[in-house]
Symmetry: C2
Subunit: 210 residues, 2 copies
DNA sequence: GCAAAAATCCGACTGCGGTCGGTTTTTTTG
DNA sequence: CAAAAAAACCGACCGCAGTCGGATTTTTGC
């Protein structure tokens, strides 16, 4: 059978991933060469390309692990019955913090996830799928609690909020939003707008505000 | 003075741009090498790097021209007093069509614009700035016509709609939205949601729809 | 248990984007 | 107008990601 072979394979893969984690976090993604990865992992260069299609994909694989971790971690400590705005805020901010622990790191992740090349399409769609799934769950509960309209398509509500996440991510990477507090404020405002509606006559608590 | 010099400089720059337009549209961005560009333009390779900092920047310069064109073109044929949703729809769809005339083309543009590297940051912020400016103008008129609430921060309204554009762009590049019609429908739905609000009790024309 | 087949591994090699030193062309200066 | 200074130009060169043909290890068939 394929006993020994499979074990070795997993071991090699693990070795590559370990090397990636170590070197990427030590010196960043851009400053780590595939040769260095190979040496650190104790394998040949093309062996790596037998396991991953590109340097970016090694990176995405690493992200996949981490994202799973963040999600389960988050699922545990999130109270599923706090108001929807608060839950989403926590989710988004957690993601942002995660994504931008290392600047290159985050940029590559979001670039690949949000505007994938053909090559990495599959992997990155996996990640997005998981993300939207988690979002959908939170929103479904909110709908059933009566915090959101129930006459809308769930997908489009998810999309609506996900769009905000994309926006702040983008603003973050364009340095328009400079620190976490600004991001949080922006998200809060946007979500409030979304809930109340932009058309006149909606939720104008204090019409003559200014 | 610096007559001859300046003329020549402009000519060289133009030659490079022309070569870029030709080769990029002929063979795509990824399949065009800087050497080929140099040969086509009739200059040395490093001359190119005297005019542009990177291959991507050549591309952005090209985009800048084109975006200006699209904007002025659009400004002319857009009726500034049609309903806001319709105007935005036209703007976004026009942009999408522009961006995705060539697949690589669009992906690189949006990647660089939305998640810029340090190097291209300046140039790409220019482009975003222009974009948000145009958006802001449209929205200001809409507010003064009473189509939008006047108690909100203009920047955040722009952001709200811009977020939708990012979302559909992303969905487009992830192949979740497969043709222009789907994109248009999605945008329409999202904008309607945004106008009405997501909280219960807002604009539920036909509560028992399904 | 051994040969043939299959899977895995390897480092020399290719072609790319980008840089560097030296050369030519234009401008400035006296 | 000559010569020094400045600007623009060039192609050989570098380090990188990714590939290729062949060597090595594991599995399979008998």
């Amino acid at each position: 059978m394929s006993g020994l072979r499979a074990i070795k394979k997993r071991k090699t893969r693990r070795a590559i991933m370990d090397a990636a984690v170590k070197l990427f976090s030590e010196k960043g993604f851009e400053n780590t060469t595939v040769n260095q990865l190979a040496k650190e992992a104790g394998v040949g260069k093309s062996t790596i390309y037998g396991y991953f299609q590109s340097k970016n994909e090694i990176f995405l694989a690493f992200c996949e692990d981490e994202i799973n971790f963040v999600f389960t971690d988050l699922a545990e400590k999130r109270d599923p019955d706090t108001p929807i705005e608060k839950q989403l805020l926590t989710l988004f901010m957690e993601q942002l913090r995660y994504v931008s622990r290392n600047y290159d790191f985050g940029r590559i992740l979001v670039r690949e996830m949000i505007f994938p090349k053909e090559l990495t399409m599959e992997k990155s769609n996996d990640l997005s799928e998981r993300y939207l799934g988690a979002l959908g769950e939170i929103l479904t509960r909110a709908i059933s609690r009566g915090e959101l309209r129930d006459d809308l398509d769930l997908l489009y509500i998810s999309g609506h909020f996900y769009a905000f996440y994309l926006l702040v991510l983008s603003a973050w990477y364009q340095r328009r939003l400079q620190n976490e507090q600004e991001v949080e404020d922006a998200l809060r405002k946007l979500m409030q707008q979304a809930m109340e509606g932009l058309a006149p006559g909606n939720g104008q608590h204090h019409t003559n505000k200014r």
